[in-house]
């Protein structure tokens, strides 16, 4: 059996759980059955993520992990990712905020599927590690640089785009201890607190996130202060950087 073959039953479950959710209507009012159904849905959601991570890793190992890039509106990506995390945020009493005027965000050259995976993963981590009553905020804005000068990115030298959209996911969570910060993007790395709090995870999420962003010729980094919170940032090149301005803004 291959991991791929798991996708058919998983998709059948996904789509029928979705239909059943609609058939049952407002789950909050349906009592015991709703509670059991929610557990099934949550477990299924985790299974979907695990299988996707395993498949992505298998593809990476055979060198066949690619992104399919096309004009993509990141505010739409953010909207979808937020929708997928709403339920969990509500249960954990974490407020979700977004600050972006969709009309002002230019189209990026990206794979909408993969970027939704990226934002979804960052949001999921942020919600997981933010205490009750905390806030997770997603922002989008346009920027000139792939990353601030202090950020080490292997993409800086080969950066060809002169304009990027910068996405940030900011939380008021527990923060990442200083001695663990350099390992955050490593394959299979899991923080001490992640292990101690018994949060599910493969240690693949952020590794895949970084891989996806690098394949988009963007950069990813974060700032974190223990006890105060963490902000992840990533950039993705926009479509058709204004050719006319290239002369006044020479590429480095």
């Amino acid at each position: 059996m291959t991991v791929q073959e798991m996708q058919v039953p998983i998709t059948t479950l996904s789509w029928n759980i979705e239909r059943l959710t609609r058939v049952l209507g407002d789950l909050a009012k349906a009592g015991e059955a709703a509670k059991l159904f929610r557990r099934i849905r949550d477990a299924h959601g985790r299974l979907v993520t695990l299988v996707e991570d395993m498949l992505s890793l298998a593809k990476l190992q055979e060198g066949a992990f690619v992104v399919a890039r096309r004009p993509t509106q990141l505010s739409e990506v953010v909207r979808k990712a937020l929708r997928s995390i709403e339920g969990e945020a509500l249960r954990r009493n974490v407020h979700l905020q977004r600050s972006a005027d969709p009309r002002k965000i230019p189209l990026t050259l990206g794979d909408p599927e993969r970027l939704t995976q990226v934002v979804g993963n960052l949001l999921s981590n942020a919600v997981k590690y933010t205490p009750r009553g905390g806030t997770v905020r997603v922002s989008l804005r346009q920027t000139q640089e792939i990353a601030p000068p202090t950020v080490v990115t292997r993409r800086r030298q080969e950066a060809t785009a002169s304009r990027y959209v910068l996405c940030s996911v900011e939380d008021t969570g527990i923060g990442i201890p200083k001695d663990e910060q350099q390992n955050v993007f490593q394959q299979f790395f899991r923080g001490r607190k992640a292990v101690a709090t018994n949060e599910g995870g493969t240690g693949l999420g952020l590794f895949l996130v970084r891989t996806i962003i690098e394949q988009h010729e963007g950069a990813i980094w974060f700032t974190s202060r223990e006890g105060y919170g963490t902000t992840f940032f990533f950039t993705v090149p926009i479509v058709n950087p204004y050719a006319g301005e290239a002369s006044t803004n020479p590429r480095r």
Partner: protein, 129 residues
């Protein structure tokens, strides 16, 4: 709401997915013509072009990309919008499908049926998205 129900040809070899898609599309106001293989799909298109084709990539025989390239090569079928359904890990094929002229693709495990339906309503301009 159009007077005539629009017809969608759904090409999917997995029975459980095909019947789920069929239920959802019919509940969404479409007529569904199911096909389990690429060959069956091509035959049905020849018999009468549908308004849209929902096409799985991994199919026995001629395969989704093969069907797509045949459809886009023929003058008579070139204009039928094709939406691809793919699995996680098919990204290279997805890129190829977009280059061949597919309108859109959905990775099955990552999309709710509602997303797919909404997109079909937009593509077919039914005014129900």
């Amino acid at each position: 709401m159009p007077e005539k129900r629009l017809r969608i040809l759904v090409v999917e070899d997995e029975e459980s997915l095909l019947s789920t898609l069929q239920d959802e599309l019919e509940a969404g106001g479409f007529d569904v013509d199911p096909a389990l293989t690429g060959e069956e799909a091509l035959r049905k298109v020849t018999e009468g072009p549908p308004d849209l084709i929902l096409l799985d990539i991994l199919l026995p025989g001629v395969g989704g990309l093969g069907v797509l390239s045949i459809l886009k090569r023929e003058e008579r079928t070139r204009k039928i919008p094709v939406v691809m359904l793919s699995n996680v890990g098919d990204e290279a094929k997805v890129q190829e499908a977009l280059e061949l002229g597919a309108e859109e693709y959905f990775v099955k495990t990552r999309h709710e049926l509602k997303d797919i339906l909404d997109r079909l309503h937009v593509l077919l301009k039914t005014g129900r998205s």
